[in-house]
Symmetry: C2
């Protein structure tokens, strides 16, 4: 049976010592109600729920999977009860506005709560996650009446939400969707089309499901400028808020997937279903992106959660498993063998995962703080800067955090040897479940295109320049005894600055260049970001006595020595250019040999 202990001390360290959250909150009128003790109580409550409820139904949920019969989806045993408990604890609306029944908690804090849920049961987590995403899109773009109708019930968990984008022929390229929205005389629309890969498209956890659907109205402009967003409830809602008749939307089937088997991934058929426009016609993509940007940071948290879960289980297994002897001689001569934790290579795998987890957690809180500034700050300059920062770092949060977490989970699985491959230890499920996080909500390759295109070339590197300025200011302010991380941080900042300049120049000469360089660039900026996080971690740890803090400094050294060198390979690959890639003919790839 897999274990999980919420890493509360590490979370406190990041929140309180590294990011001085309480100071940040108290300096901000809209967050001044929150103090460190309250935040800690929230995390402790979530830890109990994760350890006692979601962890318990994680493997059984994988074994049983979601069911589809007679057009209806049912979730595995225990999911319904867990969802009720989660909803009644107020967790769905933890970060949502109080006006609509949420708890108004900052993202800095909710990312940590989310981590625990993703660690213990990613399939379960996806149900409320989609509700919250739908809630965010509605909060930003829906009419007052729509908000009143839907938001309180979504945050209370009576109803849930989905996002319906992908169609069989197109996922990434939303410009070519075919789902139609035909206007009715009463201002509503009839929605017709098929959507696939709809997480939580149907289930038995809530009384109603509010689908947010992208569709094209008649005579809409071609491409992504002709997409509108519609609310399509599973059950239409009467004027008094009660459930009315069944809408013409239904699940056609569920997918059989590599993992997250307890999460129902549905084919949704809209057969002239009644839909209600959200915001303005043809401006649906912007509304959907509010939701998608939120989900994208969440996918990074999914990575972190899985990687923390994998690390904890692997560390325990490595401690318990007795095989072989240390090269320096028996460490436990009274036992038949030493624990495999004596081997440097086993430690290397564990430390890879741990170094990833601590940097990822800091980074998630950092991005959370930036999001909080955009939402709660009253200083327009700070908001503008934070918006740029969030734009720059969202693809990193989604793609870099899931790429590194997937590798961490593979390392952790490897610590188990053959036992990592069989189901009973839970590691293979962890790997299967996490793999989707690199793929959905825009593949990690698409994230990299977003970073290098919209977030770098389009603004001529301005977002990165602002980021580098903050990083350099921070590094230059470090105590001389932290020169080891200061120097590395400044070096990496220069390397990333130079390769960005290289990219900006090349992209002008050769439009194909950026596409080929994107993933390596994303990893370079990701490694810069982790270096920055370790600089912040080192500063906070250096200020305090004790082994807990010394280990943070040691992990900083580990990161520099054993993880960061990858950046050189990334930069070399970018510098190689794209000619060799575009030079192959299209036929080359499929020519039968």
């Amino acid at each position: 049976m897999p274990i999980y202990h919420a890493p509360l001390a590490d979370m406190r360290f990041i929140l309180n010592d590294v990011f001085q959250a309480e100071q940040f909150w108290s300096a901000n009128e809209k967050l001044a109600h929150l103090d460190a003790a309250t935040a800690e109580a929230i995390l402790e409550e979530m830890a109990k729920f994760a350890q006692n409820v979601t962890l318990e139904i994680n493997r059984s949920g994988d074994e049983e999977g979601a069911h589809f019969q007679d057009g209806k989806v049912t979730t595995p045993a225990g999911f319904k009860e867990a969802f009720k408990q989660y909803a009644s604890g107020g967790w769905i609306g933890l970060g949502a506005d109080e006006e609509w029944g949420g708890q108004g908690m900052p993202k800095m804090l909710t990312v940590l709560a989310d981590e625990m849920l993703f660690a213990t049961n990613p399939s379960f987590m996806l149900y409320p996650l989609l509700s919250v995403g739908a809630g965010m899109a509605l909060s930003s773009y829906a009419s007052q009446e729509q908000k009143e109708t839907y938001l309180p019930k979504i945050y209370s968990g009576e109803w849930s939400g989905t996002m319906c984008l992908t169609e069989p022929h197109a996922g990434t390229d939303l410009g070519i969707i075919k789902t139609k929205a035909e206007p009715n005389a009463d201002g509503s629309f009839n929605i017709t089309g098929t959507k696939i890969f709809i997480t939580g498209g149907d289930h038995d956890l809530a009384d109603n499901i509010i689908h947010l659907v992208l569709a094209k109205t008649p005579n809409a402009p071609a491409g992504s400028r002709g997409i509108s967003l519609f609310i399509v409830p599973k059950y239409l809602v009467n004027a008094d808020g009660s459930l009315g008749e069944r809408n013409a939307v239904s699940a056609g089937s569920i997918e059989h997937k590599m993992g997250i088997k307890a999460s129902a991934t549905c084919v949704m058929n809209f057969d002239g279903a009644k839909g209600f426009l959200v915001g303005k016609e043809n401006e649906g993509l912007a509304a959907m992106f509010v939701m998608m940007n939120y989900e994208r940071l969440s996918m990074g948290i999914q990575g972190l959660g899985a990687s923390e879960f994998a690390y904890q289980n692997a560390a325990q297994y490595a401690t318990d498993r007795l095989q072989g002897r240390a090269v320096t001689g028996a460490q436990s001569p009274e036992k038949p063998a030493d624990s495999i934790l004596v081997h440097g290579d086993v430690r290397r795998m564990l430390l890879n995962a741990r170094a990833n987890n601590e940097a990822s957690r800091a980074f998630a809180v950092y991005v959370g703080q930036q999001l909080d500034i955009t939402k709660f700050s009253t200083d327009p300059e700070a908001v503008a800067k934070a918006n740029n920062r969030v734009a720059l770092l969202t693809p990193i949060a989604k793609a870099f955090l899931t790429d590194t977490a997937f590798q961490a989970c593979l390392d952790a699985q490897m610590c188990f040897g053959g036992h990592g491959y069989i189901r009973e230890w839970g590691m293979e499920q962890c790997v299967r479940d996490l793999r989707i996080a690199q793929i959905y909500e825009g593949t990690n390759g698409v994230q990299a295109q977003d970073l290098i295109g919209r977030k770098t070339i389009k603004c001529e590197g301005r977002y990165l320049a602002e980021y580098l300025e903050d990083i350099r200011d921070f590094a230059n302010g470090l105590d001389p005894e932290l020169n080891f991380i200061k120097d590395v941080t400044l070096d990496v900042a220069t390397e990333v600055e130079m390769i960005t300049q290289f990219i900006l120049e090349r992209a002008q000469e050769n439009p194909e260049f950026a596409n080929s360089a994107a993933v390596d660039y994303l990893h370079a900026v990701g490694l810069l970001s982790f270096t920055y996080m370790y600089a912040r971690i080192a500063k906070a740890a250096f200020a305090k006595p004790g082994e807990f803090y010394q280990n943070k400094l040691a992990l900083t050294h580990y990161f520099i020595q054993r993880v960061l060198p990858d950046i050189n390979a990334r930069i070399s690959k970018i510098k190689a250019g794209s000619e060799i890639i575009s030079g192959f003919s299209e036929q080359y790839f499929t020519a039968q040999s």
Copy 2:
């Protein structure tokens, strides 16, 4: 439905152009019966079998899995018929000695046949693979009578074989196995104990199963020097070769695994089963290592097969999938979108896989050739040198080829977007099935320990020095027009030589160092090996006109520019030393935070 076309032209290129197999065979008395036309006919026949038989039952085998009921294992639908067809085609003994019913084909050729089977159905392939491994151990160590009794029936497929090493408490550390062998008056032994993870431990494909079992005789020395090897048939064999009574060995259960679900992975209970000593008492490990070294190269081929399968499917999907437009403007303006093959990042993923496949195939044939020299050559000096080469490169063949192939399969899966995560496209099965190849037959971490310890430090770098000499000789003999690969090859050779020297020095000062450096070192030597293979590929391709050969040169450039830079990161990590890794306390890893 996944596709597969055996890459026969690429195989011919490697065999004929790169390694001039026919010349090699004709120069060797024991192989002179084989010519290129016969070799090609064999590959063509295997291609038909792989494309028409094993591919067809790959996904259904995964869906159905192996069954366990009432102590008996049955294989999924179609496996029995396929195995009969495979056996009656003489494929099991393709590389086995003609004396025992084999076809005596060289390893250079059989690796290519194996690749096709691993590409189309790794679960199926494991059944005959274990038979062949058992056959090899018996060929080398068994008595004449034992060979006569078992080998012809194993190679004909009437019977099959297993290797029974791992016990619940120990896999890698065979010195602490507990299975007992108590001598009987008639010279046989009673074998008692439990073995786990036994591939093909029970099944319905053959009339008898010949288990090769590691066990300890009374008063055997402690550790790995006290292990003996026994034949334990499922059914005892009468003097006339007919099947006698059922032996006291049975499957207790089968494992539920991440992948290779159609391969029965059994818990085997030996309850005083009758066993027959193979070779000398306490020298069982050497016999088992004959089998294991054979399997280890095969696992590399498993990687190559999976990666080729994944590449072909991803390339086809990328060609067929229309989404988005090329950055340089629409390539197929008459269609709603361009194929995703226009995107540099999609090509990058495909080329990563393809660059891996072509180098891996060359490397497999190269190691096969070295094995053929050890087996067939009459020149003792050549045999000794080839033995050293095989010793050095076996861990590379097993671990590097599976590590790179797994990454290639992940890249290929990513080309499918969300469709890569669902079962119908076959990519997620490919990833799940391949993952075991990094774990079993000694984890890739253990392979790395073997490389850096026994194969490098123990011989003071001699095996590598011999390898480097051959590589440099080859590079220096290249045409000046191939300076681009010549220079890179010589540079990489120097880098690997220097880091090896560094390791030899550090290992003397600090015994913990090598263990921590091992995986990075294995990848450095692996990248050197691929560079060497591309030097050989480039030489062969340069000599011929036409697009097929030009593309080999282009792929060589791709490898240098986009894959090889990883070696710098590997070397940096090795140079960082191991102090930071061994410095963490044991408690650090599991302390609850």
